[in-house]
């Protein structure tokens, strides 16, 4: 366990390296484009507005309700899915570096999470614009969004580590993971509103909607979205997220203890 913790803290000390590489990844993606990383912001705005208009029409919900809901949900989802999908390839993609430079494996994961934090920050611009167009009833409770986002990041790190190690050994897990994540997008209340279905006059619909409680992603989306939109915050979601954080990290530490050193052999 000592070596596992040394890996995590040693990787953390190389902040200059992964911080630089994370920025580099973003600049790289938009190199030679005129707008550069602003494209992150624009594509998020376009997606959220298009989905907002589409589903507001389909569900018969007013746009000023659904658009903010979709937007914030989508920003959180982009972070979650990025950490999981890219996490399952993180060591495979860095094969050259892993085999040539003795660095803690956590460096690659920190770089990945940092990159998605930067994406997240770019997307917050869309959120800020949305607040101007559709003002939300924000109170001081909106500050809860800060610990919520921090929890999101802490979870992103263990998920990427775990998915990375396991799918380096079993290569089939990468496509499996990616299909599941895609499916989970529809099962998570991002384009649809959970409360509306729970309170549906049709008892069959309400009953089925309750199953969404078993979806861990729902709780992560809720703890961030509720404060950001000034909605009522439920303790239940926080408890679930905290439990997942602790259990997830314990599981990841156990897996790292056994298999961390094997990653260089498996890539």
């Amino acid at each position: 366990m000592r070596k596992t913790l040394a890996d995590l803290s040693g990787g953390w000390r190389q902040r200059e390296l992964w911080g630089h590489l994370g920025w580099q990844d973003i600049r790289q993606r938009y190199r030679r484009s005129v707008l550069g990383p602003v494209w992150i912001t624009i594509s998020m705005a376009v997606t959220a507005v298009a989905l907002g208009i589409l589903y507001a029409g389909l569900f018969g919900v007013p746009l000023e309700t659904l658009l903010p809901h979709v937007l914030v949900g989508f920003i959180v989802w982009a972070f979650i899915s990025g950490c999981i999908n890219e996490g399952s390839e993180v060591f495979i993609a860095n094969e050259g570096l892993i085999k040539h430079l003795p660095s803690p494996i956590s460096v690659h994961v920190y770089r990945l999470v940092w990159r998605h934090i930067l994406f997240f920050a770019h997307n917050l611009i869309v959120y800020a614009v949305m607040l101007i167009v559709f003002p939300q009833p924000l109170k001081w409770t909106a500050l809860a969004a800060i610990p919520a986002v921090l929890l999101l990041m802490v979870n992103g790190a263990w998920v990427a580590l775990l998915a990375g190690i396991v799918s380096t050994r079993f290569r089939d897990l990468t496509p499996i993971t990616q299909s599941i994540v895609q499916l989970m997008f529809f099962l998570t209340p991002i384009v649809w509103i959970y409360d509306d279905l729970i309170n549906s006059p049709n008892p069959a619909v309400a009953e089925r909607a309750r199953l969404a409680e078993f979806n861990p992603f729902l709780h992560f989306v809720e703890i961030v979205r509720a404060p950001m939109l000034g909605n009522d915050q439920l303790v239940r979601h926080w408890v679930v997220v905290l439990v997942i954080t602790v259990v997830g990290w314990i599981l990841t530490l156990v897996v790292m203890r056994r298999y961390r050193a094997r990653v260089a052999y498996w890539v």
């Binding site: 085999k99 089939d172 897990l173």
Partner: protein
Amino acid sequence: MVSITTRDASVDFPIFDAKSRSLKKAVLGVVGGNISSDTKVPIIEALRDINVDLQHGARVGLVGHNGAGKSTLLRLLAGIYEPTRGTAVVEGRVAPVFDLGVGMDPEISGYENIMIRGLFLGMTRKQMEKRVDDIADFTELGDFLSMPLRTYSTGMRVRLALGVVTSIDPEILLLDEGIGAVDAAFLEKARDRLSDLVDRAGLLVFASHSDEFLKRLCTSAIWMEHGQIKQQGPLKAVLRAYKGPEAVLDEGHGAA
């Protein structure tokens, strides 16, 4: 204190072919209760029972035929592969120079690549900023340094990589050969810098087929064969055993 110590260290590679690596096979293997030889992963013993004890000031050459385990041994000494059996303890900051191209990004400029490569080798951003001018001087690339790396010729890339690598202050320097593809005049310049680099390093392990380089840089040697250490000791004795009488002949010329 800088040191590398290994005790009976072995490195075994599992070779997963497409089938045995898949989850399907692992799951079906368990379900069917069929854990016979066909579900077992074949293993290559790349290194076996390696015992080395390298202290500050050691200048070790690695010799042996292709596939004898020189590169794997370097990676064991770098801490990249932790031994599957036995132990390996590496004390000190390791700068491995195995492949000049790794960590280089073709889409970004020479300057940015200098920075990134330096960070990878364990330098800080500040330390690298101080060295950038010196590296630019050495590489003689001039205005090309602000061009993307993909516009460089192979030789220019090697210059850049060598420039960065030889500018650092490593505690443990691990060099793999294959530093070529540069014009003769530049190579002479690079040699001086390489020698300087080696002098700064606390500990050197250098894998090479070139007797001349080995004699210039090393004082002792390890001879690898079939993943095991065949002999280790003073450079001349090992070279003589490895190469036969011709190594002695070379030496005679060198002395004359």
